[in-house]
Amino acid sequence: MLARIEYALRETWASFRRNLTLTLAAVLTSAIALLLVGATFLIQRAFENLLVQWRGDVAMIVFVRSDASPEQVALIDGTLRAAPSVIDVDKLRYLDKAESYAEAQRIFVGDPVTLSLLTPESIPTQFKVVPITQDTDLVRSLADQYRTLPGVEAVALAEDEFEVISTLSGFVRNVTLIMSLVLLAVAVGLIWNTIRTAMFARRREIEVMKLVGATNWFIRIPFMLEGLLQGLIGGVVSCAGVWALNSAWSGGVAAFKPGTGISSLVVPGGYLSGVMLVLLVLGAAIGAIGSAIAASRFLDV
């Protein structure tokens, strides 16, 4: 067993050095493809911070003053429910102080100044309103009406704050997603080509191995390891890239004025590590896929 492992590792390393140029190209392409995948994840997550309060077709948010009395809240609730032809009363949601505070922590993740000003006591509570109608003018006139109710602090409309970002985020996601898929396919192709070349260079050895009774797995494993390693190194490089990008971005965002919304575009550290893990796994996967396809050519005895 030990002899087999030693053999596989030795062959993998030798082959790695032999095809240095091809290997570098494959590793680099994998790294770039994975970097783009990572960036897609991060951008998406950053946008989500901005959009979290509008999730689920919410088109209007009625903010209630933190010092409003329960009667005032009940009155607002009653008024909202009195317009069932415009508002989907089943989906009407009221976020109390704790829930509103939890949401704010996501929105202001990159803006500790604003966050420190908010406490679970001082934060406005809110009604999330999902309209039934498509008529935005009607929703807008309702909003004007709600602003005059006692206890209402402000009324925000998705149309004003959300739609540009939503469209932008969708567009960015589609572009980066398609580009990363294309690049991932290219990376698989390059790894396939490297492994195929390595196998071709050693075709006489492979012929002899089959002749003396080496199993197909024994022949294939060093090549598959080589592909796996290429993908994995690509993954490691992309992780470094993603980490550097994110640090630069967070630093840049921190320089903005608090409260501008830009500060939401920051990704929490836990999410970043998750993305890096995904990139490593994905890198190993493209390496395994590329080399498995190349090596399966030698499945036949």
Binding site: E205, M209, L211, V212, G213, N216, F218, I219, D300, V301
Partner: protein, 225 residues
């Protein structure tokens, strides 16, 4: 040890290489396959080592029906066979020692077995003093000895030799033949395809003559004709 039963091999659609061939080879036998070029000698050897599969009929090798063997078992069949060829098929970037060791290494034999067995067979084929040379530093006859050492190092039950003296002069061929005879005397069955009437006539062993895929003669202690 080897049994062919109504074996037919057709390449592609219409190249009939072996035509309804049946014969038995007993353990320890030494058999020459002779016949003109294209008569199917190499094809018979490749059917035995399962490099080709018979179109019809059964091929039994060392008690196993190789035609019905799943591909995953083929490597284990090959470990009980030793193959040698006219062109030696040595790895030019490996030394004599490494070429022979390679055959053990790739079937997962531990290092102490390699250290023990390789010098032993190199001694047997008379190349103990040249084990650090590369194949292109050896004569044709010496290269063929290396390939015999590689085929024999795992103690196969059967040696399959396809024109092993095809590139060698008569004197060198004689040396190779006496080596094969020595191996045969250890109980190893030898099947050898050849054009070389000199070696066939010198050995006076069993001769199976083929013509266009058919067995036209099967004779104990035969000559080439």
């Amino acid at each position: 040890m080897i049994k062919l039963d109504g074996v037919t091999k057709i390449y592609g659609h219409d190249t009939l290489a072996v035509d309804d061939v049946s014969f038995d080879v007993a353990k320890g036998d030494f058999v020459f396959l002779v016949g003109p070029s294209g008569s199917g000698k190499s094809t018979l050897l490749r059917l035995m080592s399962r490099e080709e599969v018979a179109t019809q009929g059964d091929v039994w090798v060392a008690g196993r029906n190789v035609c019905e063997m799943p591909p995953s078992r083929v490597p284990y069949l090959r470990r009980s066979l030793g193959n040698i060829f006219q062109d030696y098929k040595l790895l030019l970037n490996k030394t004599v020692f490494e070429n022979v060791a390679f055959a053990l290494e790739v079937i997962g034999k531990p290092r102490h077995v390699i250290r023990e067995q390789v010098p032993f067979v190199l001694e047997l084929v008379g190349l103990a003093d040249k084990s650090e040379r590369f194949p292109n530093q050896l004569s044709g006859g010496e290269q063929q000895r290396v390939s015999i050492a590689r085929a024999f190092v795992n103690r196969p039950l059967i040696m399959l030799a396809d024109e092993p003296t095809g590139n060698l002069d008569p004197a060198t061929s004689e040396g190779i033949m006496s080596l094969l005879q020595e191996i045969n005397e250890t109980g190893t069955t030898v099947v050898m395809a050849t054009h070389d009437h000199r070696v066939v006539n010198a050995m006076r062993r069993r001769v199976i003559q083929l013509d266009r895929g058919l067995v036209v003669r099967d004779q104990e202690r035969g000559v080439y004709e």
